[in-house]
């Protein structure tokens, strides 16, 4: 019984962290599907979102429920501007050029953040209405921060599902990601849609950053968590939104279990071991579609 409780406790905390991976992976996938750009700066967008949240809530003293949406909206604007100013001019250039630009954006974001006087290279703490509270579910203990992460992720995924399924902009985004040429000629402003998608990805990253802040603290290097979200996106089959969520959860849970049951050090490689195993068996990822060329 005790072994089972320990196991469940690890799964629970793994799932909470997995939700964060899932949200960042979701950002990767949204941008990749629409524009075929792999945004290596997705983790840094999350970091900037967390810093903005810290600024509004801790430094400016705004209430959490005002600071959170404010940070999310600011990040959506930053995401859209990044697309307009940095990414759009290089679309159509060789893939490595685009990869270098997004990697560069990550570097600039990290050093930029550490140059901001009130941010610097220190770790910052900011508390949310959930911080420090716990709920017992039978023998399990869940912190409210963890529950908030899971509930928010679930709600966000549901809203995004409805958005893509039923709204005109959501449907236009899907159309643009399936065939840009055809999208233009049914009258979809594809370039503007791409900027909106970057905005959406950055907004999702900001939510992830603010939810994660009470657990890992706010720091200029917190974006490196994107390195775990990347295998999550690949695991799910790059390009699949349900895949990104499932991939994130799998990586989170495996990591948490590996940290608890396996010797020191396995925790950090667990994500990649799982990724290698899955790709060996299912090269297209969990939810990916097979790429078969018709002849």
């Amino acid at each position: 019984m005790r072994a089972f409780v320990e196991f469940s406790q690890q799964v629970l905390s793994g799932a909470a962290l997995g939700c964060i991976y899932a949200l960042i992976a979701l950002g990767f996938v949204l941008i990749y599907k629409a524009t075929e750009v792999v945004n290596f700066a997705q983790g840094e967008l999350m970091m900037l979102g967390a810093f903005l949240g810290y600024t509004f809530i801790s430094l400016f003293g705004l209430p959490f429920w005002l600071g959170l949406p404010l940070a999310v909206v600011c990040m959506a604007g930053i995401g859209g501007l990044l697309d307009r100013i940095v990414v759009r001019p290089i679309v159509g250039q060789p893939v490595f050029a685009i990869v270098m630009v997004t990697l560069g954006m990550g570097f600039v974001a990290r050093s930029g953040a550490s140059l901001v006087p009130a941010w610097g290279v220190d770790t910052h703490v900011f508390s949310t209405p959930f911080t420090g509270k716990v709920t017992s579910i039978g023998p399990l203990v869940a912190s409210h921060d963890q529950l908030a992460i899971m509930a928010t992720t679930a709600a966000l995924v549901a809203v995004l599902f409805l958005f893509f399924r039923y709204t005109r902009i959501g449907i236009a985004m899907q159309a643009a990601s399936q065939n840009q040429l055809a999208a233009y000629y049914v009258g979809i402003p594809v370039k503007a849609i791409c900027s909106l998608i970057w905005g959406l990805s950055a907004a999702v990253a900001a939510v992830a950053g603010i939810l994660l802040a009470p657990i890992v603290f706010v720091h200029a290097n917190m974006g490196f968590i994107g390195l775990k979200a990347f295998p999550a996106a690949v695991l799910g089959g790059f390009g699949s939104i349900p895949g990104a969520i499932a991939g994130g959860l799998v990586i989170g849970v495996v990591e948490s279990l590996a940290g608890f049951y396996l010797p020191e050090g396995f925790k950090d490689v667990a994500a990649y071991v799982v990724l290698l195993l899955v790709l060996a068996i299912r090269p297209q990822g969990l939810f990916g579609e097979g790429l078969r060329k018709k002849v």
Binding site: Y166, T167, R168, I169, I171, A172, Q174, A175, Q178, N179, L181, A182, Y184, Y185, V186, G187, I188, P189, V190
Partner: protein, 252 residues
């Protein structure tokens, strides 16, 4: 007034003159066909009209308004729809969804109302669905309504693409080789549809076509191009018999 007026249009790729000083007029409700050997500049003219390329010189006017420099997504809003040589569909969507996307430019709803799913949004949805069902009936696509287009045979995909163009309710339809990849029976069907599109729906058609039987069947006027220049224009018989055209196809 001509529906489409093209004046002194030129497009160069480096030293290659893809389109050179081309002018012609397309009148309402006619079928106007561009013919010519491969590389004559026919598709380039389509791409200029639908704004994939920027013209180096010349002017394109639709319904008397200059469209030489509008954004590509505005072309559909003005009432010009097109199909592609190699079929460009939303592969992961069904036939119905593809056709509904064709209606995209006609949607008037705004996001806040959509999120609330207000009665006006539902009424508009219904109107678009009806319009799309009309197109499905017209092109006899009922059987494929809910199939994913990626899985359909080429001939059907071609018809779906035509349906998506029709769903937008265009005034001018650009058809890039409507018969390419179709068998004789399907080509026959395509020629009936093109006639119905102009006569029943009153839509003007500008098309590129190699199949001379189809060209003869449906075209009111024909324009022959070679190396980006106009070599002959007029009714089918006179263009086909024109010595320049014969030389372009058969060589000296």
């Amino acid at each position: 007034m001509s529906l489409l007026a093209i004046d002194n249009l030129s497009l160069h790729f480096g030293g290659v003159r893809a389109v050179e000083d081309v002018s012609f007029r397309v009148e309402p409700q006619e079928v106007f066909t561009l013919i010519g050997p491969n590389g004559a500049g026919k598709t380039s003219i389509f791409n200029l009209i639908s704004r994939i390329y920027d013209a180096h010189a010349g002017r394109i006017a639709f319904e008397g308004r200059d469209i030489t420099a509008i954004a590509p997504h505005e072309v559909a809003q003005r009432g010009i729809a097109r199909t592609f040589q190699n079929v460009e569909l939303f592969e992961h969507a069904t036939v119905l969804e593809n056709l509904l996307l064709g209606r995209h430019v006609r949607f008037r709803t705004r996001l806040p109302f959509e999120l609330l799913f207000t009665p006006s949004v539902r009424a508009e949805e219904r109107a678009h669905r009806e319009k799309v069902e009309e197109v499905i009936d017209f092109l006899e696509l009922q059987h494929y309504r809910d199939s994913r287009t990626g899985n359909l045979p080429y001939g059907v995909r071609k018809v779906v693409e035509l349906g998506r163009a029709l769903a937008s309710g265009p005034k001018l339809l650009l058809l890039d080789e409507p018969s390419s990849g179709l068998n004789t029976e399907e080509t026959e069907e395509m020629s009936f549809w093109i006639e119905d599109i102009t006569q029943e729906l009153g839509i003007t058609v500008l098309m590129i076509e190699h199949d001379m039987a189809l060209v003869r069947e449906v075209s009111d006027r024909v324009l022959a191009l070679n190396y980006g220049r106009i070599i002959a224009a007029g009714d089918v018989e006179s263009v086909q018999a024109h010595p320049e055209v014969v030389r372009a196809y058969l060589g000296e």
